[in-house]
Point group: none
Chain length 193, copies 4
DNA sequence: GGTTAATCGAGACGGTACGTCTCGTCTTATT
DNA sequence: AATAAGACGAGACGTACCGTCTCGATTAACC
């Protein structure tokens, strides 16, 4: 029921991984703005066509690489209280080595290209939101947050502040920021008097 | 004391305006992602060198054009209460015709180019923050917000949510959104019991 | 002694013909310059490897197709006199529908690729020369041409003028041309006074 | 009356010559079949666009280089008699160092591309014919050739045999060939008895 | 009738050149 | 000097084919 073999030589998983690895290496060495399909292909020992066959743009290559990594790394923190969970989540999201420039590069690409924007939303941003939603649900269960509060708005607040600081770079994104943000959320969503 | 005249033919203000106008026209017709110096110059009937002489990148041209427009249009709303002020501000910021794609394009550019990022922050984002700060100060004065609240965090929340929704495009940015956001701010920052 | 059977699945004559036919069809539709192995294979419903297994280059495919056709069609004319034979020969050679572009394409290929050039000479050009040689031999027998004349030079003259006009396209290749050319040959090779 | 200055930076004659020289060098080293615009540009230290701006195809570059050379080298021989003139002409045409592969390459290109074919005819082949026509005219004046003979057919014979042997490479193109060819012409065109 | 071995369709793959696009710099004459 | 015009070096783009490769499926002859 699974097989679904297509005729012809099958896609090489080895090549796929080589290309994603090359993309990540280029990204670390030269940054997103200087990333080119040509160099990724050269570094991976691949033909350009092999990249174009499977990915519509270089952003999609990077997104694939990122998702491959993130899939395994994102964990739902469970520290027992909303402030602790939030902080753990924020740090887990943005403290990974070298992620900041990659995330900003992908965001830039999403802003310029609506087609990629959809992929970025569906495959990355929305999955992150799902994790945060679970954290908030648990906070509701614990009574830390009033049940009538709209969790989507709270998620927007958390991610809004995160991305805004990430791109503006005018304020820190550290433990203290996590504490302040979660404290604000608690005050805004605390069960009424 | 005043003149500061240099020798040679002075810069033509006519050309400057023609170039900014051409940039805006291109922007509206083809979008930020397809904007090129070459086309702006052709449309303005200008030489490319004339653009490169005065602006370091195409993003700076667009920023100049945007600031020229925004300078005159952004007004500090004074509706008498924080919710009303916030809504007026949000609408004034993002409801201008065709602004959304331009803003997103500039943001993308800022994410990719740190040099432009600084100009974008200083000449655009921070000025907008200043307006919002005044709104919040008035709310403090009216007793709508507790004086011990950090206004910078609140500003981050408002702008964070605004930009996040702007780029994610998953939720509306309308009157209702303004109402919900200001209500959340009021709850988070209301004077304690 | 005859069979020479190898083990394994034998070559499919059906496929061979399908490929030659596809090549001819492509040739007629798009011309030699736009001919590609890829399209021939697609049109024939064949894998590229099947072509590469049996022919070293696309020119060899075309040559095969041409020889298949020409083998049956070229006939030794016997009109009774050199002028009439020559005209018949010229027309039989170059008047076949759609042959001109194919011949010119193969010639171009031969000029660019020495390996194919040899095949083209041996399998096509020299065979045509042989036909012409017979015509001239008969003219010698009839006394139209002096026996001491070198027939090879005359052949070069006939084919030289033919190909030259074929490629230069500056003068007609019709009955009249045949008449003039044979008249020139007769004058050059007539038995001395 | 001559000036006709266009606005903007004028075309650089230096670059033009560098590109033609690079093309000739590539041609000698690797042959026409392996000639690429990319390598010509690299060797000339030029951008590809600079080549595409002025020449529609690589064949036109080579033709330009050839005409530049030939313009100065082709001389009307005047040896006093048709056989001597013809031989001098033939040798002058085809004995130039390394010309054979270049000529065959251009011919191949002309066979594949009708647009280039016209340029090749007008700028190269027809000019050569003009030289030969002068030689024949002088032979008529001297009484070596009957005045009623069509010189165009004779030209076709000479060039036909030359090109045919050039491409077939089955017979020599040397002094002896020149002698035989001119002797044939004389017999064919001699004043009648 | 199963085994063996080459052929076949399909299409992925590493390469390479194509012709185009835009960048940022330069070289003219003109203002 | 500033300007319009546009040539220039540079280099990435996305496409087209090349010739090779790897699959599963097929087609005979041989045992």
């Amino acid at each position: 029921m699974t097989s679904e073999r297509r005729p012809g030589r099958p896609r090489s998983e080895t090549r796929r991984r080589a290309i994603l690895a090359a993309a990540m290496a280029e990204l670390e060495e030269r940054g997103y703005a200087d990333l080119t399909i040509e160099r990724i292909a050269a570094r991976a020992g691949a033909g350009k066509q092999t990249i174009y066959r499977w990915w519509p743009s270089k952003a999609d290559v990077v997104l694939d690489a990122l998702v491959d990594m993130a899939e395994t790394r994102i964990a739902l923190p469970d520290e027992g209280s909303l402030p602790d969970d939030l902080m753990a989540f924020i740090l887990a999201t943005f403290r990974q080595r070298g992620q900041r420039p990659v995330l900003l590069g992908l965001l830039a690409q999403a802003l310029l290209d609506p087609v990629f924007a959809k992929a970025f939303r569906d495959r990355f941003l929305f999955r992150r939101r799902a994790v945060l939603r679970q954290i908030l649900d648990r906070a509701v269960a614990r009574g830390e947050i009033a049940p009538e509060t709209d969790p989507e708005l709270l998620i927007d607040v958390v991610y809004g502040v995160l991305w805004y600081r990430l791109m503006l770079d005018h304020a820190a994104l550290d433990d203290d920021a996590g504490r302040q943000l979660s404290s604000l959320l608690l005050r805004a969503a605390r069960p009424g008097p």
